[in-house]
C-alpha cells in the first residue's frame, strides 16, 4: 500500500466518501466495489501499457466506446446513460464542457493518474449537474513521503511510442513535490477488413489500412503540497497538448482532417481544523480548446471553454455523526466560432450528513443549485452499508441527477440543426442494492440497479428538414453488476466482472419504444488471470485478460448490430528488484476486428514492450 502524506486526496476526502480498496496492491481486474464508490489504483498497473480509456473499459457497469487507436476520441457511459450524462472530473474539476458532448478520455494520459474513482448512479448531490449515470473522478499523482522517480518507455505496434517520467519527493517535512511528464505518439495505421460497403459480397472485400490517424500529445503535471501545522495546502497544475489526424468513417474518409486540443487545469486546495471543525476550500480552473479542420469538406470549428469552480465546506463531528454544510460556485463560459460566446453561473448550497457506527454506515447529501439559466434544482443522495458479519455486508444507494442543456443544444444554428432555448434540464433517479462478500481468499459483490431517465433531450425532425432538440424522451436502465475474485494461492489471482444492462428506450416512438438503446451493449464481461512469483530474485508476472461486450445496436429500431467483441490480451513481466522491469504484452492476441461505432474499426493484434527503471 502506498503511504500518503495526507490520508487521501484533499478534495476527494472533503466531498465524498471513498473507501479504500481492499486489495490495492493487486493487479486484478481493476474493480473493487466498496460501499459507495469504486477506486482503481493506477500504480498497480504501472508495468502495463494502458490508457485511461483502457482502464475504464474494464470497470463493471461502464461502457467505453472508442473511435480506434491511441488518442482517438473515447467516451464512457455508466448504467445506460449517454456519455454526456456522466460527469468526468480531474482532481475534482469538471472536464465536461459546457458546449456539450461526452468527455474525451484520451485527453488524459494515464502517466499522471494516481487513481480513478467511479461512482455509479445518479449523484448530482455530490458535484452538481451532469452526473445522471455516474461520476468518474480522475485523481492525479500526489507527492510521496520519500524520494521516488521512475522513467518508463514503451514501443509498440502501429508506431506507438511513449516516454513518461515521474518524480516525487519531500522537500522538507512540510513540503512535498510531484512532477510528471509524458509524450505519446502513434501512427495508428493498423489494418482492418474493408467490406467496400457491401456486407454480403465477399468478392470485393480487401484488407485496408487506417490512414490519417496519427496522434501525438505531451502532458505534464506539477503538484506541490504544504503542511502547515493543522493546515494542508495543495497547489497543482497539469495539462496536455494533443494533435490528432482524424481519419473519418470507413465509407467517408477524411484524408486531411486535423484536430488540435489543449487542456489546462489549475487547482488550489486547502484544508485544516479549527478545534473540532474541519474546513476545506478548493479553487480550480479548467481551460480547454479544441479546433477541427477538414479542408476537403470546408469545415472549421474552434471552441474554447473555461470552468472556474470554488468549493467550501465545514465539517462538524457529533460522535458518530458528521454534519458538513458547504457552498460551491461554478462559472462556465464558452466561445465558439459557430455558437458565439455564452456563460452561465451556478451557485450551490449543500449539506452532508454521515453516520458511521460499526457495523452500520450511512451517508447522505442534499444539494440546492441555483443556476443563472435554469433556476433551482434540488437533488439528494443517500447510501447505506451494513455489515452482517465481518465478511458479509449489504449496501444500497439512491439518488437523483440532472443535466442542464449544453450551449450547443441551446444555441447551435447551422445546417440541419437548430438549438432550442426553451430546453429544460434532463432528470434522473436511480437506486441500487446488493450484497458483498469479502474474504482473505475471495470476494463477491453483486448489485442490482435501476435507473430512470426523464425529460431527455432528443433531436426531433422539424418542418423544413431540420432538427431541433426537445425534452421529450425517456429511458430506463436496469441490470446487474457482478464482481468476483479468488486468490487460491499467494501468486495466483483470478478476477472478473459481468454487467447485464437492459437499457431501454421509453420515448413512445414507434420502432424505438422498448428497444435497447444503440451504443449500449446488454452484456459485458471481463475476466483476468494474474500470476506473480519470485524466481531467483526475479519477480516474474503473467496476465491474461478477456474482454467481452455484446455488439451494440446501431439503429434505434434494433435492426442492425455490431459484432460482439471478444478480446484476449496477454502480458509477461520481469522485474529485477524494484529498479528495473521489462514488460511484454500482446493486446487483442486473437486479432479480432471489431468496432465500437459503425465505420470506426479498432486495432487488431498489437505488441508492446515497456521498460521501466526506478531511481
Amino acid at each position: 500500500m502506498v503511504f500518503l502524506i495526507f490520508p487521501t486526496d484533499l478534495l476527494a476526502d472533503t466531498i465524498y466518501v471513498i473507501a479504500s480498496p481492499a486489495h490495492e496492491d493487486s493487479t486484478d481486474v481493476p474493480e473493487e466495489p466498496t460501499a459507495f464508490a469504486q477506486s482503481i489504483e493506477v500504480e498497480r498497473l504501472a508495468a502495463r501499457y494502458e490508457t485511461t480509456e483502457d482502464v475504464l473499459k474494464q470497470a463493471a457497469g461502464s461502457h467505453v466506446r472508442s473511435m480506434g487507436g491511441l488518442g482517438s476520441y473515447a467516451t464512457i457511459s455508466l448504467r445506460g446513460s449517454g456519455s454526456n450524462q456522466c460527469l468526468v472530473l480531474l482532481d475534482g474539476q469538471r472536464l465536461n464542457s459546457p458546449s456539450g458532448g461526452g468527455v474525451d478520455l484520451s485527453k488524459i494520459s494515464l502517466s499522471e493518474v494516481e487513481r480513478i474513482d467511479i461512482i455509479r448512479g445518479s449523484d448530482s448531490a455530490l458535484f452538481g449537474e451532469g452526473s445522471m449515470g455516474g461520476i468518474v473522478n480522475i485523481v492525479t499523482k500526489i507527492p510521496e513521503d520519500h524520494f521516488q522517480a521512475d522513467l518508463a518507455a514503451t514501443v509498440g505496434s502501429y508506431g506507438t511510442r511513449e516516454i513518461r517520467g515521474t518524480m516525487s519527493s519531500p522537500c522538507s517535512d512540510k513540503l512535498g513535490i510531484a512532477l510528471t511528464l509524458s509524450e505519446r505518439s502513434a501512427e495508428n495505421d493498423y489494418a482492418f477488413e474493408n467490406n467496400n460497403g457491401t456486407e454480403n459480397d465477399l468478392s470485393d472485400d480487401f484488407m485496408d489500412k487506417r490512414r490519417n490517424n496519427a496522434f501525438e500529445d505531451t502532458s505534464y503535471l506539477a503538484k506541490v503540497t504544504v503542511m502547515l501545522n493543522a493546515w494542508d495546502l495543495k497547489l497543482s497544475a497539469n495539462g496536455s497538448n494533443a494533435q490528432k489526424e482524424i481519419p473519418g468513417i470507413i465509407t467517408f474518409p477524411t484524408p486531411r482532417a486535423r484536430q488540435d486540443f489543449s487542456l489546462r487545469n489549475y487547482n488550489l486546495a486547502t484544508g485544516g481544523k479549527l478545534g473540532k471543525i474541519a474546513l476545506n476550500m478548493d479553487f480550480g480552473r479548467v481551460d480547454q480548446s479544441d479546433t477541427y479542420r477538414d479542408p476537403d469538406a470546408g469545415l472549421y470549428s474552434d471552441t474554447e471553454t473555461q470552468s472556474d469552480q470554488l468549493a467550501f465546506d465545514i465539517g462538524y463531528p457529533l460522535g458518530p455523526v458528521r454534519i458538513k454544510p458547504g457552498f460551491s460556485y461554478l462559472d462556465e463560459s464558452m466561445h465558439d466560432n459557430f455558437v458565439g460566446h455564452h456563460r452561465r453561473i451556478t451557485r450551490s448550497g449543500l449539506v452532508t450528513f454521515d453516520l458511521n457506527r460499526v457495523p452500520f454506515e450511512f451517508v447522505s447529501t442534499l444539494r440546492y443549485d441555483d443556476g443563472s439559466q435554469f433556476g433551482s434544482q434540488l437533488t439528494y443522495r443517500a447510501g447505506v452499508s451494513y455489515y452482517v458479519t465481518d465478511w458479509l455486508r449489504f449496501k444500497a444507494n439512491a439518488g437523483t441527477g440532472y443535466r442542464v442543456p449544453s450551449f450547443y443544444e441551446l444555441y447551435y444554428n447551422h445546417g440541419f440543426i437548430v438549438g432550442n432555448q426553451t430546453l429544460q434540464p434532463e432528470q434522473s433517479f436511480s437506486w441500487d442494492i446488493g450484497p458483498a462478500i469479502e474474504h482473505k481468499r475471495f470476494g463477491i459483490s453483486l448489485n442490482y440497479f435501476d435507473h430512470r431517465y426523464d425529460d431527455l433531450i432528443a433531436y426531433v425532425l422539424q418542418s423544413g428538414l431540420y432538427y431541433r432538440p426537445y425534452n421529450i424522451s425517456r429511458s430506463v436502465s436496469q441490470g446487474v453488476e457482478l464482481y468476483a475474485w479468488v486468490e487460491p494461492l499467494d501468486w495466483l489471482k483470478i478476477s472478473g466482472n459481468y454487467t447485464y444492462n437492459r437499457a431501454l428506450d421509453k420515448s413512445g416512438e414507434p420502432n424505438r419504444d422498448g428497444n435497447q438503446i444503440p451504443g449500449q451493449p446488454r452484456n459485458i464481461a471481463n475476466l483476468q488471470i494474474d500470476l506473480n512469483r519470485e524466481v531467483k530474485g526475479l519477480m516474474l508476472g503473467f496476465y491474461a485478460a478477456y474482454n467481452y461486450a455484446e455488439g451494440n445496436f446501431i439503429t434505434w429500431a434494433n435492426t442492425k448490430k455490431l459484432d460482439d467483441r471478444r478480446i484476449v490480451s496477454l502480458g509477461l513481466s520481469g522485474a529485477a528488484g524494484k529498479k528495473i522491469s521489462l514488460n511484454l504484452e500482446v493486446k487483442n492476441a486473437l486479432d479480432e476486428h471489431v468496432m465500437d461505432m459503425r465505420g470506426f474499426p479498432l486495432e487488431g493484434r498489437a505488441y508492446y514492450i515497456t521498460a521501466r527503471t526506478a531511481f
Binding site: 460497403g197 467517408f252 447551422h414 445546417g415 418542418s463 442492425k560
Partner: protein
C-alpha cells in the same frame, strides 16, 4: 428451396400472391379503388424494407445489408436500393426480395438517387463528388463517372458561390437529366446558393450536351413523364445565407417541367412547400411530398390548378400514386397512409423507422409500360430439338396483347408460349414483339444451335412433390433446367433459371441430345442447382439423388457418400412417401433429414448428390459452353479456381440399385434428379427441396 435468403423467406408467399394479383389486375380483375397492391417502403433509419402485402398487412422486418437506404428502382426481375451511407447498390429479386448482389460505387461518394438507362444499367448521382456514376449491374462496376462539378452555377448573392451536388436523375429519350443542387456550406450546413441547374447527358456517349437553369433552388428529384422531364426543387432555406443562421426551408419550392427534345424549361409551378419527390396519377394529377410537412401539394398538369391535401405530419417524405390510391409516408411518425382521390385516409400503417421512399410492384403497369421478357429454354440446342419460347414473365398493362415471335430463321409464330425447332446449326436472334392498343415493344435473345449441345435439351418428366415453391411460376417451369445455367456468387445464387422439385421424392427427368460418355478417371457431367456456400458450417444445401439411364428404362443410381457405409457397403434403400394433400406417392432414395455438413480430412462427408455446391456466374468474356463444363472437384472443399462450381459426377460411380454392384456404364442419355431429404427447417423456412438449374456434359465443350 428453403434458406437462400433466410431473412426474407417469410415474404416469398406474400409476394408470390402479390405477383398473382398483379396478373389479375392486368386482366381487369383488380379494382381501381383497391389499396391492396403490394408496396415496398424503404426505411432509411431502420435500414430495412417494409412490405404492404396484398392482404393489407404490413411486414417490417426485411433487412437490408447497406446503410442509410435512400432510393429504390425497379428493373424486373430486380429491385435496386441506393444506400447512401455504405456507398452501395443492393440488388434484390422482385419476386422474393432475396438479395441477389451488392455493388460498391466507392468510398466518399454518397449516392442519392438512380434511374435506369437501360436494362441492367443505372445512372446514379454521386452527391459528394459532383459526378454521375454509370453502374453496370452485370459487371458490378461503375463503368463510367461523369464529372459535373465544372458546370457554371448561378448565384443568389455575388459573394457566395455554390457547388454542384448531383441529386435527382431521370432518363428520357436517350438523355440523362441530372439535377444539380447548387449549394453552399458557407454557414456550416448546406443550403441553396442559387437556382438549381439540370445537366443533360447523352445516354450513348455520356457527353454533356446541355444545361438548363431552373427557377427554383435545390432541385432534388427528377422523373420522366411522356416527352417531358419533371423536376422537384425543395427551395431555399430561411434567412440570409451571408449570415450564419438556419431555420429550415423557406417554402419557395417549385415543380418545373423540361421539354426533353428542346431541353428547355417550359413551365414552373410555385409551391408554398418543399417538395422532395412526386408521383403522377393516370389522369395527370401530380402529388408532391413536402419536407415542411402538413400539406401535400396537388397540381393538375392539364389545368395548372394547384391545391393542397391536408394530412399533418412534420415531414412528408414520399408520395406514390397506385391506381386511384395515393400512398403517403411520414418520416417522423413512421406512418404509411393510403388516401383516396379526395384525400381521405383509407388505411394507415406503422412502417419501419424513417420511411423515405416507396415502390409499387404494379407501378410499371400504372405507367403503361410494356416490358417484354423472354423465357427461352434451352438456349443452346441441336437441330430438330423443340425449344420452348415463353413470354409470360413480360410486364404489360391491362389490356389485350398480341405476342409475335420471330425466330430469326425466317419462321415466326404468335402466342404467349410457343415451340420451335431449328433445322440448321447457327446462331439465331429471336425477337419477341408485344403489341397492344397503346403501342408495342420488342425484346430479343440469342439462341445457339449446335450439332450436339453440352447441356440437356429435353425435359422428359417433371413430377414435383408438394412444397412451398412448386406453385410459384418463378420456380415451377421445368424447361428452365434445359440449356446452360445462370450462376451467381457462392453466397448469392441466381434463382432466375432454377426449377424446384418440391419436397421429398419430387423429381425431374432430363435428356441430352447425345450419349454422355464415360471418361475414365474423370468427372463426366455436372448438375447445377442453387446451393449456397460460405465456409463450414455456413453451407446451405438441398441434396438431390441422381440416377442415370442409357435408354430411359433401366436406371442406375449414383450412390453418394451418405449412401455408402464406412466399409464401402451400400446402405441405400428406396423409400416411398405418400402425400395426402395430393393423394400421390413419390419414391426415391432417402438421405437423413439431419444432414451432416462437417468437413473431415479435407473432404465433404457429403458428395455424389445434386445441389450441394454453388454455381458461379459466367465471367465477362467467357464462353458459356467452355465455362460451364469446367468441373469443380466434387471431393474437395469449396469451389476450385477456374471452375464453374456445381456438382460433378463420374459415370463410373453408377451402381445397380438392386445389387449394389458397379453398373459398368459407358454412357447415358437420360438423367433423373429427385429430392433426397425428407424434412423441413421448421417455420417459414420450408422444406428441403432440390433445385435444378442445368445439367452439362463435361467432355462436350
Amino acid at each position: 428451396m428453403k434458406k437462400k435468403g433466410l431473412f426474407i423467406i417469410a415474404f416469398i408467399l406474400v409476394l408470390g400472391v402479390a405477383a398473382c394479383d398483379r396478373a389479375e389486375n392486368r386482366m381487369g380483375a383488380g379494382s381501381a379503388e383497391d389499396i391492396s397492391d403490394s408496396l415496398i417502403v424503404v426505411n432509411n433509419l431502420a435500414e430495412t424494407l417494409s412490405i404492404l402485402d396484398t392482404q393489407g398487412k404490413i411486414h417490417n422486418d426485411v433487412q437490408l445489408t447497406g446503410s442509410s437506404p435512400n432510393a429504390i428502382v425497379h428493373d424486373p426481375p430486380y429491385i435496386y436500393v441506393v444506400n447512401s451511407l455504405s456507398n452501395s447498390l443492393e440488388v434484390l429479386s422482385d419476386i422474393d426480395l432475396s438479395i441477389v448482389g451488392e455493388i460498391s460505387v466507392g468510398a466518399g461518394r454518397n449516392p442519392m438517387q438512380a434511374a435506369l438507362i437501360q436494362k441492367r444499367m443505372l445512372a446514379v448521382t454521386s452527391f459528394l463528388t459532383g459526378c454521375l456514376d454509370i453502374v453496370d449491374i452485370d459487371t458490378k462496376k461503375v463503368a463510367r463517372s461523369i464529372d459535373l462539378s465544372g458546370i457554371e452555377l448561378p448565384r443568389d448573392v455575388p459573394e457566395i458561390r455554390g457547388k454542384s451536388y448531383p441529386y435527382g436523375v431521370a432518363v428520357n429519350a436517350g438523355k440523362i437529366f441530372v439535377t444539380l443542387a447548387n449549394l453552399t456550406d458557407h454557414y456550416g450546413g448546406l443550403t441553396a446558393a442559387g437556382p438549381g441547374v439540370v445537366a443533360v447527358i447523352d445516354a450513348q456517349d455520356f457527353k454533356i450536351i446541355g444545361t438548363i437553369v431552373l427557377e427554383g433552388a435545390d432541385p432534388v428529384f427528377a422523373q420522366a413523364y411522356g416527352s417531358r422531364v419533371i423536376i422537384a426543387c425543395a427551395g431555399h432555406y430561411e434567412g440570409d445565407i451571408t449570415k450564419p443562421q438556419s431555420s429550415g426551408f423557406k417554402g419557395d419550392g417549385t415543380i418545373e417541367i423540361i421539354e426533353t427534345d428542346s431541353m428547355q424549361l417550359s413551365k414552373s409551378y410555385d409551391l408554398k412547400a418543399a417538395p422532395f419527390s412526386f408521383s403522377i396519377s393516370r389522369d395527370g394529377i401530380l402529388y408532391a411530398s413536402n419536407a415542411m410537412g402538413a400539406q401535400i401539394p396537388k397540381i393538375n398538369l392539364t389545368s395548372d390548378e394547384i391545391t393542397f391535401l391536408n394530412l399533418g405530419g412534420a415531414y412528408i417524405s414520399s408520395v406514390l400514386v397506385v391506381g386511384n390510391t395515393l400512398y403517403v409516408l411520414d418520416f417522423s411518425s413512421d406512418q404509411l397512409f393510403a388516401l383516396n382521390s379526395q384525400g381521405d385516409i383509407q388505411a394507415q400503417y406503422t412502417v419501419g423507422d424513417g420511411p423515405l421512399a416507396m415502390l409499387s410492384l404494379s407501378d410499371i403497369t400504372v405507367e403503361g409500360t410494356i416490358i417484354p421478357k423472354l423465357n427461352v429454354n434451352p438456349l443452346i440446342a441441336s437441330p430438330g430439338i423443340e425449344i420452348n419460347f415463353d413470354a409470360s414473365p413480360s410486364l404489360v398493362p391491362d389490356g389485350v396483347y398480341i405476342y409475335t415471335w420471330d425466330f430469326g430463321d425466317g419462321q415466326s409464330d404468335t402466342g404467349k408460349t410457343v415451340k420451335h425447332a431449328y433445322l440448321v446449326e447457327g446462331e439465331y436472334t429471336v425477337t419477341l414483339t408485344i403489341k397492344g392498343e397503346k403501342g408495342e415493344e420488342r425484346g430479343q435473345c440469342l439462341v445457339k444451335v449446335v450439332n450436339a449441345s453440352p447441356f440437356a435439351t429435353q425435359m422428359i418428366d417433371y413430377a414435383p412433390a408438394p412444397g412451398q415453391f412448386i406453385h410459384n411460376p418463378q420456380y415451377n417451369d421445368p424447361n428452365k433446367a434445359l440449356g446452360p445455367p445462370v450462376g451467381g456468387t457462392p453466397l448469392q445464387p441466381d434463382n432466375s433459371s432454377v426449377v424446384s422439385l418440391g419436397g421429398f421424392g419430387g423429381s425431374i427427368i432430363l435428356a441430352f441430345d447425345h450419349e454422355v460418355n464415360d471418361n475414365p478417371g474423370a468427372p463426366d457431367f455436372i448438375v447445377f442447382g442453387n446451393a449456397q456456400y460460405d465456409r463450414a458450417p455456413l453451407r446451405f444445401i438441398e441434396p438431390g439423388i441422381v440416377e442415370i439411364s442409357a435408354d430411359g428404362d433401366i436406371w442406375y443410381l449414383i450412390p453418394g457418400s451418405s449412401l455408402v457405409s464406412f466399409f464401402g457397403q451400400p446402405t441405400y434403400r428406396k423409400v416411398e412417401k405418400y402425400y395426402p394433400e395430393t393423394d400421390q406417392t413419390y419414391s426415391t432414395y432417402q438421405l437423413p433429414s439431419t444432414i451432416r455438413d462437417d468437413i473431415e480430412d479435407n473432404q465433404y462427408l457429403i458428395w455424389g448428390y445434386a445441389d450441394l455446391s454453388p454455381v458461379l456466374a459466367l465471367p465477362q468474356g467467357a464462353d458459356i459452353t467452355q465455362f460451364y463444363n469446367s468441373p469443380d472437384n466434387p471431393l474437395s472443399v469449396g469451389i476450385d479456381p477456374d471452375t464453374c462450381g456445381g456438382d460433378a459426377f463420374d459415370i463410373a460411380w453408377a451402381v445397380d440399385p438392386v445389387t449394389g454392384e458397379s453398373a459398368h456404364l459407358t454412357g447415358f442419355k437420360f438423367i433423373k434428379i429427385s429430392t433426397a431429404v425428407d424434412g423441413t427447417l421448421g417455420g417459414s423456412l420450408g422444406e428441403f427441396s432440390t433445385e435444378v438449374d442445368a445439367v452439362s456434359d463435361i467432355d462436350l465443350k
